[in-house]
Symmetry: C2
Subunit: 209 residues, 2 copies
DNA sequence: GCAAACTGGTACGACTTCGTACCAGAAAGG
DNA sequence: CCTTTCTGGTACGAAGTCGTACCAGTTTGC
């Protein structure tokens, strides 16, 4: 008779399966983030994970499914990082956001490559996940900013615009920074951003007044 | 003896070759912008162009080469559109940029899909072209903005930051707008952006003062 | 007209990846 | 110790695309 699962190497069937899945996910992050998603094959994943191809299909139906799982973990970590900072005034909230983003990208270059480059344009499913998470982060940021300002609240449409502006601007800057091999150093770039924000506010003030 | 080229159907060898190349480029824009780059094959391109596969390789070595040519034309058109507006004050420059971007995206949905979605993450070569053009547009915009402000000029680093912010924010908003199937209508969205900018300036003023 | 070049359609081998199957050896239970 | 399950390595057919070659029919120059 077929046993429904038997301990092996000191672990139950479910434990072994779960451990194999984790090995595959780890190999996915590593390969997607170094050689790139498009050039990674199921065979390469299994080789890196030290597992038979059969075990890939035990946990994932397609390579894209693995990318979804990998990206879900990457974006969760990034979201935690950019939203970690608090702050009672707008400048602190903004700086916390960009500090978290830059620090995360520099501390996790492989995962950063997955988020900033490899997931782009892979499939409609991944694209939707990508943009959904961007909107969540943008909404949260805009809402926090709005809360630090005594004046009138933003309308829903304005909050969406502000969220898009913040996320889009942040992404573009981090991408540029990563491509420039993390130059200038993080704190220097943060100061440049502060100075630029000051310049913009002064310019806007001059134009309004 | 082998003729080095003979008129055919009223056109010289070079004219015919050039016409075929144009047919292929047109088919490339159409297919890349509808079915997507990743699912487009050389065979599909030639079928859409009404040409033999042999003629593809007459003008392009790989499908990626065709994408480079296609994207070069798309980005040139977009650049002309977003930089068309003039303006002597910051708000006019910004509004001209976003108006040009939104109008172009709505008037050329197929090309917009190529720029906003399909070229992403295809290859290092395309990525570099994409980001180079983004930097060119951002620099030009930041420089124009700087010129409308009486105060001190931006440093090179600050101009880069501002350019990244503008291009990143603009891209994110257009992507969001296209995904939302061009809702709300263009002029409504532009007014929301104006209102949001006003809110930000007021908030910044309150925080500074 | 007639030969030579051009054109579009079809066909073909090479290559890669996928997804599954087989098979010999290791680990656990009785 | 011996049977059964599990594991990793290898092998294999299916499918899709690439890039080229062949071939019949058309257009041109002479």
């Amino acid at each position: 008779m077929t046993d429904q699962g038997r301990p092996y190497a000191g672990a139950s069937r479910e434990e072994r399966k779960s451990a194999r899945r984790e090995q595959i996910v780890a190999a996915g992050i590593s390969l997607f983030g170094t050689m790139g998603y498009r050039t990674t094959t199921v065979g390469a994943i299994c080789e890196a994970a030290g597992l038979n191809k059969r075990y890939f299909y035990e946990s994932f139906a397609t390579l894209e499914d693995l990318l979804c799982e990998v990206y879900g973990r990457v974006i969760a970590e990034l979201r935690a990082s950019v939203l970690a900072g608090g702050g009672d005034d707008p400048a602190t909230v903004l700086r916390g956001f960009m500090t978290g983003f830059l620090s995360w990208a520099q501390a996790n270059p492989v995962k950063a490559r997955v988020h900033l480059f490899e997931v782009l344009g892979v499939s409609a499913r991944i694209d939707e996940l990508y943009r959904f998470q961007g909107r969540v982060i943008g909404d949260e940021l805009a809402s926090r900013l709005s809360a630090t300002i005594p004046g009138p609240d933003l309308t829903a449409g304005q909050q969406r615009v502000l969220g898009n502006v913040l996320v889009g601007a942040g992404l573009q800057m981090v991408v540029d920074w990563v491509i420039s091999e993390y130059q200038p150093p993080r704190d220097e770039l943060l100061e440049e951003m502060d100075a630029t924000l000051g310049w913009v506010l002064a310019a806007g003030l001059a134009a309004l007044g």
